[in-house]
Amino acid sequence: MSGDEPAVALRDLGRAYGERVALSGVTLTLARGRTLAVFGANGAGKTTLLRVLATLLRPHAGSVSVLGRALPGEGWAVRGRIGLVGHEPLLYRDLTAAENLRFHARLHDVGGGRVDELLGAVGMARRADEPVRALSRGMAQRVAICRALLHAPDLLLLDEPLANLDPGAAGAVAPLIGRDAGLTRVLISHDVDRGLAEADVVLGLRAGRPVLVAEDAAAVSARDVRELYA
Protein backbone atom coordinates (compact mmCIF):
# COMPACT_ATOMS: atom_id res chain seq x y z
CA MET A 1 0.00 0.00 0.00
CA SER A 2 1.59 3.27 -1.06
CA GLY A 3 1.51 6.35 1.13
CA ASP A 4 -0.05 8.67 -1.38
CA GLU A 5 -3.32 6.76 -1.62
CA PRO A 6 -6.20 8.82 -0.27
CA ALA A 7 -7.20 8.14 3.31
CA VAL A 8 -10.86 8.01 2.37
CA ALA A 9 -12.31 7.49 -1.09
CA LEU A 10 -16.06 7.22 -1.53
CA ARG A 11 -17.89 6.64 -4.76
CA ASP A 12 -21.68 6.74 -4.82
CA LEU A 13 -21.84 5.52 -1.27
CA GLY A 14 -25.37 4.60 -0.19
CA ARG A 15 -26.83 3.15 2.97
CA ALA A 16 -30.43 2.49 3.92
CA TYR A 17 -32.21 1.36 7.05
CA GLY A 18 -34.91 -0.74 5.52
CA GLU A 19 -36.87 1.52 3.21
CA ARG A 20 -35.48 4.70 4.69
CA VAL A 21 -32.48 5.94 2.78
CA ALA A 22 -29.92 7.42 5.14
CA LEU A 23 -27.18 8.15 2.62
CA SER A 24 -27.06 8.10 -1.12
CA GLY A 25 -24.66 9.08 -3.87
CA VAL A 26 -21.85 10.40 -1.67
CA THR A 27 -18.66 10.75 -3.67
CA LEU A 28 -15.48 12.33 -2.36
CA THR A 29 -11.79 11.84 -1.70
CA LEU A 30 -9.79 12.86 1.33
CA ALA A 31 -6.03 12.91 1.13
CA ARG A 32 -3.89 11.87 4.07
CA GLY A 33 -3.20 14.50 6.67
CA ARG A 34 -6.23 16.56 5.72
CA THR A 35 -9.55 17.20 7.41
CA LEU A 36 -13.05 16.62 6.09
CA ALA A 37 -15.78 18.61 7.79
CA VAL A 38 -19.30 17.20 7.48
CA PHE A 39 -22.27 19.51 7.99
CA GLY A 40 -25.96 18.82 7.97
CA ALA A 41 -29.11 19.02 10.05
CA ASN A 42 -30.14 16.24 12.43
CA GLY A 43 -30.95 13.08 10.53
CA ALA A 44 -29.05 14.16 7.44
CA GLY A 45 -26.85 11.05 7.56
CA LYS A 46 -23.70 12.39 9.20
CA THR A 47 -23.49 9.75 11.90
CA THR A 48 -24.31 7.02 9.40
CA LEU A 49 -21.39 8.17 7.26
CA LEU A 50 -19.10 8.09 10.26
CA ARG A 51 -20.20 4.60 11.24
CA VAL A 52 -19.66 3.33 7.72
CA LEU A 53 -16.12 4.73 7.77
CA ALA A 54 -15.56 3.16 11.19
CA THR A 55 -16.42 -0.29 9.68
CA LEU A 56 -19.41 -0.48 12.05
CA LEU A 57 -22.01 -0.32 9.28
CA ARG A 58 -21.94 -2.03 5.93
CA PRO A 59 -22.29 0.20 2.89
CA HIS A 60 -25.23 -0.82 0.73
CA ALA A 61 -24.28 0.84 -2.51
CA GLY A 62 -21.21 2.26 -4.16
CA SER A 63 -17.66 1.69 -3.05
CA VAL A 64 -15.84 2.76 0.06
CA SER A 65 -12.13 2.65 0.59
CA VAL A 66 -10.56 3.62 3.87
CA LEU A 67 -6.78 3.83 4.26
CA GLY A 68 -6.48 2.07 0.92
CA ARG A 69 -8.68 -0.88 1.88
CA ALA A 70 -12.10 -1.57 0.40
CA LEU A 71 -14.98 -1.90 2.86
CA PRO A 72 -16.65 -4.04 3.97
CA GLY A 73 -14.53 -6.83 2.48
CA GLU A 74 -11.21 -5.71 3.91
CA GLY A 75 -12.56 -4.21 7.09
CA TRP A 76 -10.28 -6.44 9.15
CA ALA A 77 -7.25 -4.68 7.69
CA VAL A 78 -8.22 -1.20 8.88
CA ARG A 79 -9.49 -2.19 12.30
CA GLY A 80 -7.15 -0.84 14.91
CA ARG A 81 -6.11 2.02 12.63
CA ILE A 82 -9.24 4.12 13.14
CA GLY A 83 -10.17 6.18 16.18
CA LEU A 84 -13.77 7.15 16.84
CA VAL A 85 -15.17 9.80 19.13
CA GLY A 86 -18.92 9.45 18.82
CA HIS A 87 -22.05 10.65 20.59
CA GLU A 88 -21.59 7.90 23.13
CA PRO A 89 -18.25 7.75 24.92
CA LEU A 90 -18.06 3.92 24.45
CA LEU A 91 -16.90 3.50 28.04
CA TYR A 92 -18.13 1.04 30.65
CA ARG A 93 -19.88 3.04 33.34
CA ASP A 94 -18.86 0.78 36.20
CA LEU A 95 -15.17 0.79 35.41
CA THR A 96 -12.85 3.67 36.17
CA ALA A 97 -11.44 5.87 33.44
CA ALA A 98 -8.05 4.20 33.74
CA GLU A 99 -9.52 0.69 33.72
CA ASN A 100 -11.53 1.49 30.60
CA LEU A 101 -8.47 2.77 28.83
CA ARG A 102 -6.33 -0.15 29.95
CA PHE A 103 -8.99 -2.53 28.63
CA HIS A 104 -8.88 -0.85 25.24
CA ALA A 105 -5.09 -0.71 25.35
CA ARG A 106 -5.04 -4.50 25.76
CA LEU A 107 -7.49 -4.98 22.90
CA HIS A 108 -5.26 -2.82 20.71
CA ASP A 109 -2.05 -4.31 22.10
CA VAL A 110 -0.77 -0.96 23.33
CA GLY A 111 1.41 -0.57 26.43
CA GLY A 112 -0.13 0.75 29.65
CA GLY A 113 2.18 3.75 29.80
CA ARG A 114 0.27 5.38 26.99
CA VAL A 115 -2.84 5.43 29.19
CA ASP A 116 -1.29 7.60 31.90
CA GLU A 117 0.35 9.81 29.33
CA LEU A 118 -2.96 10.53 27.58
CA LEU A 119 -4.95 10.97 30.78
CA GLY A 120 -2.40 13.51 31.91
CA ALA A 121 -2.57 15.31 28.58
CA VAL A 122 -6.33 15.89 28.85
CA GLY A 123 -6.12 16.83 32.52
CA MET A 124 -7.85 13.74 33.83
CA ALA A 125 -4.96 12.16 35.75
CA ARG A 126 -6.45 13.15 39.09
CA ARG A 127 -9.87 11.60 38.37
CA ALA A 128 -8.52 8.52 36.60
CA ASP A 129 -9.57 6.14 39.36
CA GLU A 130 -13.19 7.21 39.57
CA PRO A 131 -15.84 5.14 37.83
CA VAL A 132 -17.03 6.67 34.59
CA ARG A 133 -20.57 6.86 35.94
CA ALA A 134 -19.35 9.40 38.50
CA LEU A 135 -17.77 11.66 35.87
CA SER A 136 -19.53 14.57 34.26
CA ARG A 137 -20.31 14.37 30.55
CA GLY A 138 -17.44 16.63 29.69
CA MET A 139 -14.99 14.53 31.64
CA ALA A 140 -16.28 11.33 30.08
CA GLN A 141 -15.85 13.00 26.71
CA ARG A 142 -12.20 13.69 27.52
CA VAL A 143 -11.68 10.06 28.46
CA ALA A 144 -13.40 9.05 25.23
CA ILE A 145 -10.94 11.18 23.30
CA CYS A 146 -8.10 9.36 25.07
CA ARG A 147 -9.70 6.06 24.09
CA ALA A 148 -9.84 7.07 20.46
CA LEU A 149 -6.20 8.15 20.46
CA LEU A 150 -4.71 5.24 22.43
CA HIS A 151 -3.56 3.27 19.45
CA ALA A 152 -2.32 6.32 17.49
CA PRO A 153 -4.90 5.91 14.72
CA ASP A 154 -4.20 6.82 11.11
CA LEU A 155 -7.73 8.14 10.70
CA LEU A 156 -9.68 9.96 13.36
CA LEU A 157 -13.47 10.14 13.18
CA LEU A 158 -14.90 12.89 15.35
CA ASP A 159 -18.60 13.44 15.99
CA GLU A 160 -18.80 16.82 17.71
CA PRO A 161 -15.72 16.15 19.81
CA LEU A 162 -15.97 19.43 21.70
CA ALA A 163 -19.58 18.98 22.81
CA ASN A 164 -19.88 19.23 26.60
CA LEU A 165 -16.31 20.48 26.94
CA ASP A 166 -15.62 23.74 28.77
CA PRO A 167 -13.18 26.14 27.13
CA GLY A 168 -10.33 24.95 29.33
CA ALA A 169 -10.86 21.32 28.41
CA ALA A 170 -11.34 22.22 24.76
CA GLY A 171 -7.98 23.94 24.91
CA ALA A 172 -6.43 20.87 26.51
CA VAL A 173 -7.60 18.45 23.81
CA ALA A 174 -6.87 20.82 20.91
CA PRO A 175 -3.21 19.74 20.53
CA LEU A 176 -4.33 16.10 20.44
CA ILE A 177 -7.17 16.24 17.95
CA GLY A 178 -6.91 19.73 16.50
CA ARG A 179 -5.44 20.77 13.19
CA ASP A 180 -1.93 20.95 14.60
CA ALA A 181 -1.94 17.26 15.51
CA GLY A 182 -1.49 16.62 11.79
CA LEU A 183 -3.95 13.72 11.74
CA THR A 184 -6.31 12.70 8.97
CA ARG A 185 -9.69 13.62 10.36
CA VAL A 186 -13.37 13.41 9.55
CA LEU A 187 -15.13 15.97 11.67
CA ILE A 188 -18.84 16.41 12.26
CA SER A 189 -19.70 19.78 13.71
CA HIS A 190 -22.67 22.03 14.23
CA ASP A 191 -20.40 24.97 14.91
CA VAL A 192 -20.13 26.28 11.36
CA ASP A 193 -17.33 28.80 11.84
CA ARG A 194 -15.09 26.57 13.87
CA GLY A 195 -15.80 23.59 11.61
CA LEU A 196 -14.87 25.56 8.52
CA ALA A 197 -11.71 26.83 10.14
CA GLU A 198 -10.59 23.25 10.78
CA ALA A 199 -11.56 21.89 7.37
CA ASP A 200 -9.71 21.23 4.15
CA VAL A 201 -12.59 19.47 2.44
CA VAL A 202 -16.27 20.19 3.10
CA LEU A 203 -19.28 17.92 2.71
CA GLY A 204 -22.81 19.17 3.28
CA LEU A 205 -25.59 16.60 3.61
CA ARG A 206 -29.33 17.07 3.38
CA ALA A 207 -31.59 14.04 3.79
CA GLY A 208 -28.69 11.75 2.95
CA ARG A 209 -27.74 13.51 -0.27
CA PRO A 210 -24.51 15.43 -0.74
CA VAL A 211 -25.68 18.95 -1.58
CA LEU A 212 -22.36 20.65 -0.95
CA VAL A 213 -19.03 19.09 -1.85
CA ALA A 214 -15.97 21.33 -1.90
CA GLU A 215 -12.41 20.11 -2.28
CA ASP A 216 -11.20 23.44 -0.99
CA ALA A 217 -12.74 24.67 2.22
CA ALA A 218 -11.53 28.21 1.66
CA ALA A 219 -13.98 28.54 -1.23
CA VAL A 220 -16.95 27.79 1.02
CA SER A 221 -18.63 30.61 2.86
CA ALA A 222 -20.31 30.18 6.24
CA ARG A 223 -23.58 31.28 4.62
CA ASP A 224 -23.56 28.34 2.20
CA VAL A 225 -23.17 25.98 5.10
CA ARG A 226 -25.89 27.63 7.20
CA GLU A 227 -28.33 27.11 4.36
CA LEU A 228 -28.07 23.38 5.02
CA TYR A 229 -29.82 23.90 8.29
CA ALA A 230 -32.59 26.06 6.89
Binding site: R51, A54, T55, L56, L57, R58, W76, R79, G80, R81, I82, L84, G86, E88, P89, L90, L91, Y92, R93, D94, L95, E99, F103, H104, R106, L107, H108, D109, P131, R147
Partner: protein, 224 residues
Protein backbone atom coordinates in the same frame (compact mmCIF):
# COMPACT_ATOMS: atom_id res chain seq x y z
CA UNK B 1 -6.90 -13.90 20.50
CA UNK B 2 -5.81 -14.95 23.98
CA UNK B 3 -4.97 -11.34 24.83
CA UNK B 4 -8.39 -10.14 23.76
CA UNK B 5 -10.22 -12.96 25.52
CA UNK B 6 -8.39 -12.34 28.77
CA UNK B 7 -9.01 -8.59 28.53
CA UNK B 8 -12.73 -9.18 27.96
CA UNK B 9 -13.09 -11.78 30.69
CA UNK B 10 -11.23 -9.68 33.21
CA UNK B 11 -13.33 -6.67 32.32
CA UNK B 12 -16.60 -8.58 32.81
CA UNK B 13 -15.52 -10.24 36.04
CA UNK B 14 -14.35 -6.91 37.42
CA UNK B 15 -17.71 -5.31 36.60
CA UNK B 16 -19.50 -8.27 38.21
CA UNK B 17 -17.37 -8.05 41.35
CA UNK B 18 -18.02 -4.34 41.58
CA UNK B 19 -21.75 -4.29 40.86
CA UNK B 20 -22.80 -7.82 41.85
CA UNK B 21 -25.57 -7.84 39.28
CA UNK B 22 -25.74 -11.42 38.08
CA UNK B 23 -24.42 -13.98 40.56
CA UNK B 24 -26.21 -12.84 43.73
CA UNK B 25 -29.48 -12.58 41.83
CA UNK B 26 -29.04 -16.06 40.37
CA UNK B 27 -28.22 -17.47 43.78
CA UNK B 28 -31.19 -15.87 45.48
CA UNK B 29 -33.40 -17.07 42.66
CA UNK B 30 -32.12 -20.63 43.08
CA UNK B 31 -32.69 -20.74 46.82
CA UNK B 32 -36.15 -19.20 46.52
CA UNK B 33 -36.97 -21.83 43.92
CA UNK B 34 -35.90 -24.62 46.29
CA UNK B 35 -38.22 -23.21 48.93
CA UNK B 36 -40.96 -22.95 46.34
CA UNK B 37 -40.44 -26.59 45.37
CA UNK B 38 -40.65 -27.60 49.00
CA UNK B 39 -44.13 -26.16 49.28
CA UNK B 40 -45.31 -26.96 45.77
CA UNK B 41 -44.30 -30.62 46.09
CA UNK B 42 -45.17 -30.73 49.79
CA UNK B 43 -42.04 -32.75 50.46
CA UNK B 44 -39.53 -32.44 53.29
CA UNK B 45 -36.90 -34.11 51.20
CA UNK B 46 -36.51 -35.39 47.68
CA UNK B 47 -34.29 -38.05 46.16
CA UNK B 48 -33.57 -39.87 42.93
CA UNK B 49 -35.10 -38.59 39.69
CA UNK B 50 -37.24 -36.04 41.52
CA UNK B 51 -34.21 -34.52 43.23
CA UNK B 52 -32.30 -34.42 39.95
CA UNK B 53 -35.27 -32.76 38.25
CA UNK B 54 -35.67 -30.09 40.93
CA UNK B 55 -31.96 -29.33 40.92
CA UNK B 56 -31.62 -29.05 37.16
CA UNK B 57 -34.79 -27.08 36.53
CA UNK B 58 -33.66 -24.58 39.15
CA UNK B 59 -30.12 -24.29 37.81
CA UNK B 60 -31.24 -23.94 34.21
CA UNK B 61 -33.79 -21.27 35.09
CA UNK B 62 -31.15 -19.41 37.06
CA UNK B 63 -28.84 -19.61 34.04
CA UNK B 64 -31.51 -17.93 31.92
CA UNK B 65 -31.30 -14.89 34.21
CA UNK B 66 -27.62 -14.45 33.41
CA UNK B 67 -28.10 -14.99 29.67
CA UNK B 68 -30.36 -11.96 29.45
CA UNK B 69 -27.77 -9.75 31.16
CA UNK B 70 -24.71 -11.02 29.33
CA UNK B 71 -24.54 -8.47 26.54
CA UNK B 72 -26.46 -5.58 28.05
CA UNK B 73 -23.39 -3.48 28.86
CA UNK B 74 -21.98 -4.11 25.39
CA UNK B 75 -25.13 -2.84 23.72
CA UNK B 76 -26.03 0.03 26.06
CA UNK B 77 -22.56 1.32 26.86
CA UNK B 78 -21.04 0.89 23.44
CA UNK B 79 -18.94 -2.17 24.18
CA UNK B 80 -19.79 -3.70 20.81
CA UNK B 81 -18.54 -0.66 18.91
CA UNK B 82 -15.34 -0.47 20.91
CA UNK B 83 -14.69 -4.17 20.43
CA UNK B 84 -15.55 -4.19 16.73
CA UNK B 85 -13.04 -1.44 15.94
CA UNK B 86 -10.21 -3.26 17.66
CA UNK B 87 -7.89 -5.47 15.61
CA UNK B 88 -9.01 -8.72 17.22
CA UNK B 89 -10.87 -11.81 16.06
CA UNK B 90 -14.59 -11.54 16.70
CA UNK B 91 -14.66 -15.07 18.03
CA UNK B 92 -12.80 -13.67 21.04
CA UNK B 93 -16.06 -12.13 22.21
CA UNK B 94 -17.88 -15.47 21.95
CA UNK B 95 -15.15 -17.28 23.87
CA UNK B 96 -14.92 -14.56 26.50
CA UNK B 97 -18.66 -14.33 27.07
CA UNK B 98 -19.04 -18.10 27.27
CA UNK B 99 -16.19 -18.19 29.78
CA UNK B 100 -17.80 -15.44 31.84
CA UNK B 101 -21.15 -17.21 31.83
CA UNK B 102 -19.40 -20.43 32.82
CA UNK B 103 -17.76 -18.60 35.74
CA UNK B 104 -21.14 -17.27 36.85
CA UNK B 105 -22.70 -20.73 36.69
CA UNK B 106 -19.88 -22.32 38.65
CA UNK B 107 -20.05 -19.56 41.26
CA UNK B 108 -23.79 -20.03 41.66
CA UNK B 109 -23.50 -23.81 41.86
CA UNK B 110 -20.79 -23.60 44.51
CA UNK B 111 -23.42 -22.15 46.79
CA UNK B 112 -26.68 -23.45 45.33
CA UNK B 113 -25.80 -27.15 45.31
CA UNK B 114 -24.84 -27.18 49.03
CA UNK B 115 -28.01 -25.18 49.73
CA UNK B 116 -29.99 -27.80 47.86
CA UNK B 117 -28.32 -30.57 49.83
CA UNK B 118 -29.22 -28.85 53.10
CA UNK B 119 -32.72 -27.72 52.27
CA UNK B 120 -34.23 -30.42 50.16
CA UNK B 121 -32.02 -33.37 49.35
CA UNK B 122 -32.64 -36.61 51.28
CA UNK B 123 -29.48 -38.69 50.74
CA UNK B 124 -26.11 -37.13 51.41
CA UNK B 125 -24.39 -36.05 48.18
CA UNK B 126 -20.85 -35.93 49.54
CA UNK B 127 -19.99 -39.49 48.59
CA UNK B 128 -20.82 -38.87 44.95
CA UNK B 129 -19.34 -35.40 44.75
CA UNK B 130 -16.78 -36.18 41.99
CA UNK B 131 -19.42 -37.69 39.72
CA UNK B 132 -21.80 -34.83 40.44
CA UNK B 133 -19.07 -32.34 39.57
CA UNK B 134 -18.42 -34.12 36.29
CA UNK B 135 -22.08 -33.84 35.29
CA UNK B 136 -22.25 -30.21 36.42
CA UNK B 137 -19.12 -29.32 34.48
CA UNK B 138 -20.26 -30.93 31.23
CA UNK B 139 -23.72 -29.41 31.48
CA UNK B 140 -22.36 -25.97 32.39
CA UNK B 141 -20.18 -25.84 29.30
CA UNK B 142 -23.18 -26.55 27.10
CA UNK B 143 -25.38 -24.05 28.91
CA UNK B 144 -22.65 -21.40 28.70
CA UNK B 145 -22.27 -21.80 24.94
CA UNK B 146 -26.00 -21.90 24.23
CA UNK B 147 -26.55 -19.04 26.66
CA UNK B 148 -23.99 -16.87 24.89
CA UNK B 149 -25.67 -17.56 21.58
CA UNK B 150 -29.14 -16.88 22.94
CA UNK B 151 -27.96 -13.76 24.75
CA UNK B 152 -26.42 -12.46 21.54
CA UNK B 153 -29.64 -13.20 19.64
CA UNK B 154 -31.75 -11.60 22.34
CA UNK B 155 -29.70 -8.42 22.51
CA UNK B 156 -30.63 -7.68 18.89
CA UNK B 157 -34.30 -7.44 19.80
CA UNK B 158 -36.38 -4.89 21.62
CA UNK B 159 -37.95 -7.47 23.89
CA UNK B 160 -34.85 -9.17 25.21
CA UNK B 161 -36.43 -10.18 28.51
CA UNK B 162 -39.12 -12.15 26.66
CA UNK B 163 -37.12 -13.56 23.78
CA UNK B 164 -34.21 -14.93 25.82
CA UNK B 165 -36.26 -17.31 28.01
CA UNK B 166 -38.52 -18.61 25.27
CA UNK B 167 -35.48 -19.31 23.08
CA UNK B 168 -33.29 -20.71 25.82
CA UNK B 169 -35.72 -23.17 27.38
CA UNK B 170 -36.41 -25.38 24.34
CA UNK B 171 -32.75 -25.25 23.35
CA UNK B 172 -31.78 -26.51 26.80
CA UNK B 173 -34.19 -29.44 26.87
CA UNK B 174 -31.50 -31.94 25.78
CA UNK B 175 -29.30 -30.65 28.62
CA UNK B 176 -32.17 -31.06 31.05
CA UNK B 177 -32.82 -34.61 29.86
CA UNK B 178 -29.22 -35.74 29.93
CA UNK B 179 -28.15 -33.93 33.09
CA UNK B 180 -31.20 -35.00 35.11
CA UNK B 181 -30.91 -38.61 33.95
CA UNK B 182 -27.22 -38.64 34.75
CA UNK B 183 -27.71 -37.12 38.19
CA UNK B 184 -30.69 -39.23 39.23
CA UNK B 185 -28.83 -42.46 40.12
CA UNK B 186 -26.35 -40.44 42.16
CA UNK B 187 -29.07 -39.09 44.43
CA UNK B 188 -31.08 -42.19 45.31
CA UNK B 189 -31.86 -42.93 48.94
CA UNK B 190 -30.75 -46.55 48.77
CA UNK B 191 -27.17 -45.62 47.98
CA UNK B 192 -25.68 -44.11 44.87
CA UNK B 193 -25.75 -46.05 41.65
CA UNK B 194 -23.12 -45.76 38.95
CA UNK B 195 -22.78 -42.77 36.71
CA UNK B 196 -24.47 -43.56 33.39
CA UNK B 197 -21.85 -42.89 30.76
CA UNK B 198 -24.44 -42.64 28.02
CA UNK B 199 -25.80 -39.37 29.38
CA UNK B 200 -22.35 -37.90 29.80
CA UNK B 201 -21.77 -38.73 26.16
CA UNK B 202 -24.98 -36.92 25.22
CA UNK B 203 -23.87 -33.87 27.20
CA UNK B 204 -20.46 -33.95 25.55
CA UNK B 205 -22.07 -34.25 22.13
CA UNK B 206 -24.31 -31.29 22.93
CA UNK B 207 -21.32 -29.20 24.02
CA UNK B 208 -19.45 -30.11 20.87
CA UNK B 209 -22.31 -29.44 18.44
CA UNK B 210 -23.25 -26.11 19.94
CA UNK B 211 -19.62 -25.11 20.36
CA UNK B 212 -18.96 -25.58 16.67
CA UNK B 213 -22.27 -24.01 15.74
CA UNK B 214 -21.68 -20.94 17.87
CA UNK B 215 -18.20 -20.59 16.42
CA UNK B 216 -19.65 -20.69 12.92
CA UNK B 217 -22.52 -18.22 13.33
CA UNK B 218 -21.49 -15.83 16.08
CA UNK B 219 -19.63 -13.41 13.79
CA UNK B 220 -22.81 -12.70 11.87
CA UNK B 221 -24.58 -11.46 14.96
CA UNK B 222 -22.03 -8.66 15.33
CA UNK B 223 -22.13 -7.58 11.75
CA UNK B 224 -24.30 -4.55 11.02
Amino acid sequence: MRRAVSALVRKDLRVELRTGEAVPAMLLFSISTFVLFHFALDRRSVDGQLAAGVLWVTLLFAAVLAMGRLFVAEREQGGFDGFLMAPVDRTALLVAKAAVLLCFLVAVELAAVPAFAILLLGPSPWAVLPQLCAVLALADVGVAVVGTLVGALGIQTRTRELIVPILALPLMIPVAIAAARATAPLLVEAGAGGLPGRWLAVLALYDLVFGLLAYAVFDYLLDD
